[in-house]
């Protein structure tokens, strides 16, 4: 029997009961079960060659010398001052932007869901958030330069109206806080999109039950709502963190290679081997996989936990 024949007569059609009279009893069922895997082959090959093998290549390279012998030297070299400083800067920036995004997003989402505002306000913000969370990278950098760059509209307006120079006061778009403010433009809408369903899931019965037991407004939030929401909030925070950690285009368009976050360092390493050791580059990538990967996977775990409350 050929593969084509087998595909034409799938087990779902008849199962063993119908295939038995066809002539090959017994041996047939297990053989068919094996053929079913062939249907996964195109996907499996694509995923292996263009997703899994490239990652495996980098990860194994991180544990090898350029000559190919096993070593921990690359990982130890990650703790050198330049690379460690770069990781620390990345982590700080991602933490700050995730905290800002999560707090602002939670507030906005609370206002939209429970604030008693007209329904269309919520619809407008959700739709806008869908667009804004995808409006990132280079155009976003351009928009912020036109707004609060040195000659940006808002910078100039504030100077002319109030005689106040925000750059003179220490603000700089091309610095840590400037980047954090820019990241907020995609972090805030992302937070709104993912936390709103969780706030929707707070049942009015819970609040009524709490109130009938004599709980105050604050007690309800502290002892009922926040504990229910906390896996979602933590999960969203981790997603925002990973999101900021992997951001490259926005930083690159704003600051070129000046602002040495890990993706920028890796970018420079791929372009010109600035670390003078290809295997150290692999170790740098491994560090990114671990940090971004762990926070994303934790997010997925927390999300499935949070979904229990919405059954």
């Amino acid at each position: 029997m050929t593969v084509a024949d087998d595909l034409l007569n799938p087990p779902s059609q008849g199962g063993s009961a119908r295939s038995a009279p066809a002539g090959l009893p017994g041996a047939k069922a297990p053989r068919r079960a094996n053929w079913a895997w062939l249907g996964l082959l195109p996907f499996a090959l694509f995923a292996a060659f263009f997703l899994i093998l490239p990652i495996v290549y980098l990860v194994t390279g991180a544990f090898q010398t350029p000559e190919g012998t096993f070593t921990f030297d690359n990982l130890i070299a990650l703790t050198g001052p330049a690379i460690l400083g770069s990781y620390w800067l990345s982590i700080k920036l991602s933490l700050v932007s995730a905290l800002l995004g999560a707090a602002a997003g939670l507030l906005l989402s609370w206002a939209l869901v429970l604030g008693g505002l007209p329904r269309w306000v919520r619809g407008a913000f959700i739709t806008f958030s869908g667009v804004a969370s995808n409006f990132a990278g280079i155009p976003l950098a351009f928009a912020f330069i036109a707004t609060i760059g040195r000659l940006g509209i808002v910078t100039v307006l504030v100077r002319e109206l109030f005689g106040f120079n925000i750059y003179g006061a220490g603000f700089n778009l091309f610095s840590f806080w400037g980047l954090a403010l820019t990241y907020l433009y995609f972090q805030l809408p992302l937070m709104v999109l993912i936390i709103t369903p969780a706030l929707d899931g707070l049942k009015t019965e819970w609040r009524e039950a709490a109130e009938s037991l004599g709980a105050s407004h604050a007690q309800y939030w502290r002892m009922v709502a926040l504990p229910v929401l906390s896996p979602s909030i933590l999960g969203c925070f981790l997603l925002l963190f990973a999101n900021a950690f992997g951001t490259l285009a926005t930083v690159y368009a704003l600051t070129g290679s000046q602002f040495d976050v890990v993706p920028i360092m890796l970018f420079a390493q791929i372009r010109g081997n600035v670390l003078y050791n290809p295997n150290l580059g692999y170790a740098l990538a491994l560090g990114m996989i671990l940090i971004a990967g762990l926070s994303n996977v934790l997010y997925l775990v927390l999300r499935s936990r949070a979904e229990r409350w919405r059954a």
């Binding site: 249907g39 008693g116 505002l117 995808n134 707004t147 926005t250 690159y252």
Partner: protein, 276 residues
């Protein structure tokens, strides 16, 4: 209750101004190219640059081919998994999420090393090979979105009954997939395609490291050389993103069947990653 309403009004107003001021400011900035007057000069200058249209169309074509490849891989696989091997679905789903879990720069780094000049399959040494590499890279990046929308779309279809009906009429497997399942998923696929397109037309990291004449690297170049054109390009990009998202929503809502998971593809928390 009154107080919470005032507080939420204040929050919403602050958020709205944070979102809208940069958009307005960018637009106003883009009109200031000629001293002392408003004009669309920056836009004229953008459209007069032959590199603008050539890089934009290069990126559009690569994105579309990538979406096509990933649809051709995802639809039969999702169908097969749902019909025959529901047990492996979590594995397939996790693999399709990997491009969101692993930063894109790491994936392209892996490509450059695995398919570099001294490898068994040196794709990155020729121009055709690099184009292929970029298309494959975008197909990989689109996997999460395409899988999610196809899977959501398939959830509303009774694929087993459709398959059996088609089989009883004598259809073979590829006829079933391409003439029965695929047309039923059209809206879901198009919706996923617009989402993918909105994030890949300005993608920078893959295009830049593979050294391709795409829109993302072009944007960076203009950002370094010019003052007003970048603002015009940001306005145009925002409009394009907006158009993609609106079209995506329209198609996501056009699915047949009522038990659709609302906003599944659009607002799935992981269903995005900036072009970073």
């Amino acid at each position: 209750m009154k107080i919470s309403r005032i507080v939420s009004l204040v929050i919403v107003l602050i958020a709205a101004s944070y979102f809208l001021v940069p958009l307005y400011a960018t637009f106003q900035f883009s009109l200031q190219m000629l001293r002392g007057q408003w004009s669309f000069q920056a836009y004229r200058s953008v459209f007069a640059d032959p590199n603008f249209l050539s890089t934009l169309s290069y990126s559009a074509v690569t994105s579309l081919v990538a979406i096509l490849i990933s649809t051709l891989i995802v639809v039969p696989t999702t169908y097969w998994v749902r019909l025959k091997m529901p047990r492996v679905k979590p594995v397939v789903e996790f693999i399709t999420l990997l491009p969101l879990i692993i930063p894109p720069i790491v994936i392209v780094f892996g490509y450059l090393r695995l398919y570099g000049s001294d490898s068994l399959l040196p794709l990155t040494v020729s121009s055709a090979g690099t184009n292929l590499m970029l298309v494959i890279g975008y197909a990989t990046l689109s996997l999460p979105y395409v899988f999610r929308s196809v899977d959501n779309g398939m959830q509303t279809l009774d694929i087993r009954t459709l398959t059996e009906a088609a089989e009883s009429l004598g259809a073979n497997r590829s006829t079933i997939i391409f003439r029965v399942i695929l047309p039923n998923l059209r809206a879901a696929i198009v919706s996923g395609a617009f989402l993918t397109f909105s994030i890949s037309f300005g993608e920078f990291v893959f295009a830049s490291l593979l050294n391709r004449p795409a829109f993302g690297p072009y944007l960076v170049q203009i950002g370094q050389d010019r003052a007003y054109e970048p603002a015009a390009l940001a306005v145009l990009s925002f409009a394009l993103t907006w158009a993609c998202m609106v079209l995506m929503q329209i198609f996501a809502n056009a699915k047949p069947g009522a038990s659709r998971r609302r906003r599944g593809a659009a607002f799935n928390p992981l269903a995005r990653r900036k072009t970073a």
